[in-house]
């Protein structure tokens, strides 16, 4: 997949008129087949917008997105989307939710139900097929979200901070499960987060995008060997170096743009590394 000179802006209401908010400007990046790419950037950068553009949910103002050489992606079975807020249909059971994208894309009944059963079992929800989302915990709901996206057997899995609204423990568990699932069935994953540890655990490559208007600031290969759930990635010697580098870059972007109160970093990361002063901007106003 190749993204070339992509730009996207939105009208921004200002008093009676509108101004233009440039969210993404001249962004270019490539993703290899079966690569796990994590996009990281300050909040408010166009990470979600970028995913929506890649999926074809919204059209770009200019630039192009080439997937398998074809232009103009359209939403469909080639891509599976996992959302931060789960977005399950409350009136559908787990089974029916996972079946939904398959029905939409006219996958025949037999295949559809086989796949639904398979992916529900892969995310560890066998036995909950007839439960409604409201009966499940957040972590379980997102497992359904994952099964739903994967049941399409998409070429590209788009994940928009999928574990961002879960508690730390659940999100770490799901990160590992995602790694295992991906190891079994490789496909291309484009994963958005602002959690550095999550990025370093999951990614083959981290793409750092800047504050609005966003473009690619840096790309970093993550060297840790796979499978990564079999050992403690954090105790690798490169880990703190990479982490510190990313953290510094993110902080630079935030203080440069000056628009956003701070980068959400997990509590352990909020501790400044030795010799560094970290003052969240929110604290300035107190």
């Amino acid at each position: 997949m190749l993204v070339r000179d992509l730009s996207k802006s939105f009208p921004l209401r200002q008093g009676k008129g509108y101004s233009v908010l440039n969210v993404i400007e001249d962004l270019s990046m490539g993703v290899e087949e079966n690569e796990f790419v994590v996009i990281i950037g300050p909040s408010g950068s166009g990470k979600t917008t970028l995913l929506k553009l890649i999926d074809g949910l919204i059209p770009p103002d200019s630039g192009e997105i080439l997937i398998d050489g074809t232009d103009h992606p359209r939403p469909g079975p080639k891509m599976g989307f996992v959302f931060q807020s789960f977005r399950l249909m409350p009136w559908r059971t787990v089974m029916a939710n996972v079946l939904f994208p398959l029905q939409i894309n006219h996958v025949d009944r037999q295949t559809a139900s086989e796949r639904a059963v398979k992916y529900i079992s892969q995310v560890g929800l066998t036995g909950f097929e007839n439960s409604y989302p409201s009966e499940l915990s957040g972590g379980m709901q997102q497992r359904v979200g994952l099964a739903r996206a994967m049941a399409l057997e998409p070429e590209i899995l788009l994940m928009d901070e999928p574990f961002g609204s879960l508690d730390a423990q659940t999100s770490e568990l799901l990160q590992v499960e995602l790694l295992k699932l991906w190891q079994f069935k490789r496909n291309t994953v484009i994963f958005v987060t602002h959690n550095l540890d999550e990025a370093l655990l999951l990614a083959d490559r981290i793409v750092l995008i800047g504050a609005r208007p966003s473009r690619v600031e840096e790309e970093i290969k993550v060297p840790f060997r796979r499978p990564r759930w079999t050992y403690d990635v954090r105790s690798e010697p490169e880990y703190p170096v990479l982490r510190r580098h990313l953290w510094t870059r993110l902080r630079e972007m935030v203080s440069k743009s000056g628009t956003f109160p701070g980068v959400k970093v997990q509590s352990a990361a909020a501790e400044p590394l030795a010799g560094e002063e970290w003052t969240p901007r929110l604290a300035d106003r107190r």
Binding site: L57, G76, F81, M89, W91, F100, I104, N105, S134
Partner: protein
């Protein structure tokens, strides 16, 4: 799980005990009020029971009920048949919704009882006029709630469905319709209750028939024992329709019973 079910049963039992206690309380208050006001102003509960038996026995209520229900059911069917599809189309096609919505609001805020003389002028005093009056009242809550139900579909769910490649038609049938279901049933319930009101009003203002007719006749001649019978019958009908629709809603939206 079994603990939860037991707790649920317990709370249901408490609700019923309370319900019966309130009912008994109301009868006692009625009895006391009737004893102090005298039978000319408020009949005794027992007298109303006797009148009920008598009026059902000689077929008076049955005849009136048939007349009233013919009007109500026909008008309600028309209101549903036009109201729900119209609300769905308005919600599904934005241009139609925007255009028609203003007129719906205009008519809805009009005191529609004021249009009864017009209905009489157009349709006379018979069944047709009565049906028209009931439609006039029952139609609007049905359209408005259906429309709002479709309109208020969670945008995030629509986007999620689109991301999997759902077409506009698929978004409508598999997301909007389901999301609107609760609101549609609410509309039906509101429509039914103003519809019952409409039947009585129509029977007062046009040719005097049905349960509304009995109410006028007995009321004007101070036969208060008999007067209370059609009033109670109408209340029971209204409450039954409303409760029936609640049960239907629970059956159609099973996921709601689990929501915390």
């Amino acid at each position: 799980m079994s603990g939860q079910i037991a707790a649920k049963n317990r709370s249901r039992r408490t609700a019923w005990v309370t319900r019966i206690a309130i009912f008994v309380g109301l009868i006692v208050v009625w009895q006391l009020a009737a004893m102090s006001l005298g039978p000319l102003f408020l009949p005794l509960p027992l007298a109303v029971v006797k009148a009920t038996v008598a009026l059902f026995g000689n077929g008076t209520i049955e005849l009136a009920l048939e007349q009233s229900m013919t009007v109500f059911l026909t008008a309600f069917a028309i209101s549903l048949g036009i109201g729900i599809p119209l609300g769905l189309v308005m919600g599904g096609i934005k241009a139609v919704g925007d255009a028609v919505d203003s007129f719906i609001n205009l008519f809805n805020s009009m005191p529609r009882i004021a249009l009864i003389p017009l209905m009489v002028a157009w349709f006379g005093l018979g069944v047709t006029a009565k049906i028209a009056i009931v439609v006039l009242l029952a139609f609007f809550p049905i359209v408005i709630n259906t429309y709002n139900g479709v309109l208020n579909t969670d945008k995030d769910l629509l986007e999620a469905a689109s991301s999997f490649g759902a077409s506009k038609a698929q978004l409508f049938t598999s997301v909007m319709l389901r999301a609107a279901l609760s609101n549609i049933i609410t509309g039906i319930r509101l429509g039914a209750s103003v519809g019952i009101l409409g039947v009585v009003v129509a029977e007062l203002f046009t040719a005097i028939t049905g349960l509304g007719g009995l109410i006028v006749n007995y009321g004007n001649t101070f036969q208060l024992n008999d007067y209370f019978v059609p009033v109670l019958v109408l209340s029971v009908i209204g409450a039954s329709i409303s409760e029936g629709l609640k049960v239907l809603e629970r059956k159609l939206t099973p996921w709601k019973s689990f929501q915390r």
